[in-house]
Symmetry: C2
Subunit: 396 residues, 2 copies
Amino acid sequence: MSMQIDFKKELEAASKSMIMIHDPKLLIKLIVRMIVRKLQIKHAAMILYEADRDAYVLSISRGESGIKIPAGFTRFNEESPLIKLFSRKEYKHLTYNRNGIVSEDINRLIWHEMVIKNGNGHEIMDLLHKVNEQMEMLNSVACVPAYYRHKLMVILLLGEKYDESKFSQEELDFFAALASDAAMAIRNAQLFTRLKAQSERNRNLFLQTINVLGSTIEAKDAYTRGHTERVTQYSMAIARQMVENGSEQFDKTFFENLYIAALLHDIGKIAVPESILNKPGRLTEEERRIIQLHPVKGAEIINPLSLPQECYNGILYHHERYDGKGYPEGLDGENVPVSASIIAVADAYDAMTSSRPYRESLAKAEAITEIEKNIGTQFCPLPARAMLELFEKGEA
Amino acid sequence: MSMQIDFKKELEAASKSMIMIHDPKLLIKLIVRMIVRKLQIKHAAMILYEADRDAYVLSISRGESGIKIPAGFTRFNEESPLIKLFSRKEYKHLTYNRNGIVSEDINRLIWHEMVIKNGNGHEIMDLLHKVNEQMEMLNSVACVPAYYRHKLMVILLLGEKYDESKFSQEELDFFAALASDAAMAIRNAQLFTRLKAQSERNRNLFLQTINVLGSTIEAKDAYTRGHTERVTQYSMAIARQMVENGSEQFDKTFFENLYIAALLHDIGKIAVPESILNKPGRLTEEERRIIQLHPVKGAEIINPLSLPQECYNGILYHHERYDGKGYPEGLDGENVPVSASIIAVADAYDAMTSSRPYRESLAKAEAITEIEKNIGTQFCPLPARAMLELFEKGEA
């Protein structure tokens, strides 16, 4: 292969757009594939420094000939010959001029060390022999390093060319530039991936904490064991069913907000004395009034979180009714936020199908009949019908 | 200025390393400064597309001559002449060949439109006049656009050269390449910034939810109003004091874990009946046993969060004593995790200085004397001494 100017331009353009690929694995795959396809090289691979693991890893190996080394399998430590050769200052002179190492040069380098150092270059000779072995093992005839802030980041491993010609200095220089771009792009992608993972970890921690927060109420109210979780599951199922039967087009954010609202819908009961919550007999008017404060108390409790309005509404209005006879505000019809009307159905269904201090549980079919009977009075029609559909499908 | 090859190489190298600068503002500053300094141009600025605001903004303006336009001040919409010129397909032919627009060319372009279109190019003529005015206003004699995925991302605004020579095509091509690198680097930096902000938002949401979770206990236990928050503040102050007086070297992560542990130290009381928590008289042995379960219950409650061991320890062991007579495990001396021994001091101090169902509060000085008396028995010496120091400094 002679370095064709078109390929060079093409690769330069490609290496530029590399920085917008933020998936390190995909990026490495593209680079290695590009080298093999465009530059008529039989085999190419990349050794990559992974900062998170503080290790050099053979990231991908591609080509038509030679051993196929499983990607991500082979790890190299600081003592590995190629890593040593390219990262230690005392060996820099061996590869600096050529921007890499070519297997044909190794014997000349060894001879040079012997003559110059008068046989005292044993350590270097030994290293070069090992480098040679490692290159053979990795099926590569040229290796080109790249650095980021003086840290060895990448070694491009190049197999033979199809025309079996030698690598020219121009080619090695070009590969060094490419490897350098790749090193930076990969580092960038690694940082991106790490930041993304961190963001997701924090998001999951938040959601899990919401979960724990929601379940605290069950520690107080023995009769609601599992209630929060079931209401959350029913609410999500109702919303999915509403999307499925075409009555709504909820997006991912809606589902996430509904999930949070459902987990926290009863959190305000934290502020209701246990003596009232767990009272076996009939409640007095005053006790009922205190219990009915729980949606407002719940909204107050989550207020410092500045959650989206949808979460807030789901908690504050889950005891509103379609006919306006609910609490705390007596909203009616379409004025009841949809997340609240979904939780209201889920809450009622679970309340009816589990036993409470003041009554036995109903069978599922009876609860469904009860919901059907109250469509348009207590329940908003769309989520209530979705609940009936779920029951018919055997999913509730 | 003639395009000197050294500057070109230097700029190319610089534009490569741009992608590792993840602060968009700093990046733009560096690019504009580089152009002005290295390329002997009197003035340079950059119009940048900000995806988050869906707007074009004059990001920074730098140079020795001409109007100083405040950075971030001037916004351009899609109807702005330069934006229109570089983003609409129908005007592409006006600037495509030159990779930008140079003010000297504008009259020629207008004339060309008149001749070619036989006077029907009024719209284009009008636009070119307005572009001319805008360039004058922005003190630039050449403007070079850059795109990312066909979206106009950047316009480089170039002032006169110090030698007042015209911009050559080679120079414009070079600036186009530079602008293109800059566009990608800035887009990359913008994505980074957004992802970072999102991660921080999620982290804050998590910490705020922990806060809410910690405060739920106060809804049950009227006598502990504000207790959680004060214990958290004292704990953080004790840890800071321990760092200050040289007895420990806590890192940022330790402080964060201690914060979480302190906020949640009493969360297990959620599982203790209110009748016991708020009992005004003496507790029976059985009632005391139930209350003393709260560290274990607390650790159970937060278990699903998989928080760092330090948080877990702080909650589970905050009632252990230095002499091993605490609960739940009777750990002693250095076996009590340091976060727990800090919370223990903070908790005791706040309990003594606030009133409880079973007794009046002590004065701060009395509480401090009490802590001093119990160093090495109840309290671990290092945090207890830090507490005394805080009191002496008037910080507790």
